[in-house]
């Protein structure tokens, strides 16, 4: 089996020559190309010209480069240092702020735990005082209906029934008195027409006409007899 170096033919690819000139080939390939170039003086001359071009480019660059560096470019390092120094305090401040936040959080948590354990803590008493003041402030003010006289209680059903019964009894008594009065007058002969009607006139129900005047008074007047023409 032939190696890659043995396969290098008489016509070398140009990319290999460029890579050989620019020293970009591995050692094995470089040796193979070198051996092939030994057999081809034309290609070797081309390679030498390209090598000389590279060397002349470096020489030309060295000739072209002026000595002193411009002030603006020389200040690049200083500007970079200034830039870094300008941001350095900000970094420190940021770290300090984070640490302060963490410490305040820890301290707040510890204070809260201590306040919960200690009932006589100032914070608790202050909170209680504040709560008492709040209650005093929020105590309801007496309203107008409370200042007025109390509303009379509604009568109970028993009281209403008793009132109605007593009223009925009073009405009965009054009716009895009236009927007895009419009866007495009839007995005395002052009301002869009513002697017969009186017993027929029923006594009104006390519940129906409790306050109406007894019709006995009107009926007690003697009816005028029809005049004779």
């Amino acid at each position: 089996m032939k190696r890659w170096a043995d396969n290098v033919t008489a016509i070398l690819p140009e990319r290999l020559l460029h890579a050989y000139v620019d020293v970009l080939l591995p050692a094995a390939k470089r040796r193979a190309v070198h051996r092939a170039l030994m057999r081809q003086p034309e290609l070797r001359e081309t390679v030498e010209v390209w090598r000389k071009q590279n060397a002349d480019l470096r020489r030309l660059a060295l000739m072209e480069t002026p000595g002193p560096m411009p002030v603006a470019m020389a200040g690049v390092t200083h500007r970079l240092e200034t830039r870094l120094c300008r941001f350095a305090p900000l970094e420190g401040l940021r770290i300090a702020a984070v640490i302060a936040l963490l410490l305040s959080g820890v301290a707040g948590t510890a204070l809260l735990a201590q306040a919960q354990l200690d009932k006589d803590n100032t914070l608790i008493s202050f909170g209680q005082t504040a709560a008492g003041g709040n209650q005093a402030i929020t105590k309801p003010i007496p309203t107008k209906p409370q200042l007025a006289e109390p509303v009379a209680q509604k009568p109970k059903v028993e009281n209403v029934v008793a009132t109605v019964e007593s009223a009925a009894e009073d009405q009965e008594k009054q009716t009895d008195v009236t009927s007895n009065k009419g009866g007495a007058l009839a007995e005395q002969g002052e009301l002869p027409e009513m002697r017969e009607a009186a017993p027929e006139t029923p006594a009104p129900a006390a519940s129906e006409q409790p306050h109406s005047a007894p019709p006995v008074v009107e009926d007690s007047k003697p009816a005028e007899p029809p005049r004779e023409i």
Binding site: L24, Q53, E64, M73
Partner: protein
């Protein structure tokens, strides 16, 4: 491992050499490097974390160069009076560069296109690999290789022909 400010300062000389041969104007080259450094400073906390600071700076310089080329194509090239004097001095190349071969090479570089000159300088001068040059210029490796081949052949023909021409930048 993050880079330090000293690493940035070490790259300034390489950037200036590359920019001088690329721009062919010392003032514009220094302005280009200055812009590159300013941009690097603006992004320093992020740039300090990159793996290859040198490649990153050259890539930044390449982008700034492309932006400037496009702007100059739109606005036209402004040549200050100081540079006009330098252009006049190119008529006497012996006074500028004592070495004729270097003068021919300089003229040959000026006759290359920007893309070809950029690739030749990145690989031949700054020593970047083909992959790195492809990353810096944002092109495939094959494109970089073909541009390198054309540029080297053109430089060889120019030096062998010994034709001294006034440097004239080709369109990209």
């Amino acid at each position: 491992m993050p880079h330090h400010k000293g690493d940035l300062e070490k790259e300034i000389d390489g950037l200036r050499r590359y920019a001088r041969l690329l721009m062919r104007n010392s003032t514009e080259a220094d302005d280009l490097v200055q812009d590159c450094l300013v941009r690097a400073l603006e992004k320093w906390p992020a740039i300090a974390q990159v793996t290859n600071l040198r490649r990153y700076l050259f890539s930044m310089l390449h982008n700034l160069f492309i932006d400037g080329t496009r702007k100059s194509q739109r606005r036209g090239t402004v040549v200050p009076i100081e540079n006009a004097v330098n252009v006049a001095s190119l008529i006497q190349p012996e006074a500028q560069t004592p070495n004729l071969e270097l003068r021919d090479l300089q003229n040959g570089l000026a006759n290359l296109s920007d893309a070809q000159r950029e690739v030749v300088l990145l690989i031949g001068l700054s020593g970047f690999t083909y992959d790195e040059a492809a990353e810096i210029t944002g092109n495939p490796v094959g494109t970089v290789m073909s541009r390198l081949s054309r540029a080297r052949h053109a430089l060889r023909e120019h030096v062998n022909g010994a034709v001294i021409e006034a440097p004239e930048r080709r369109a990209r």
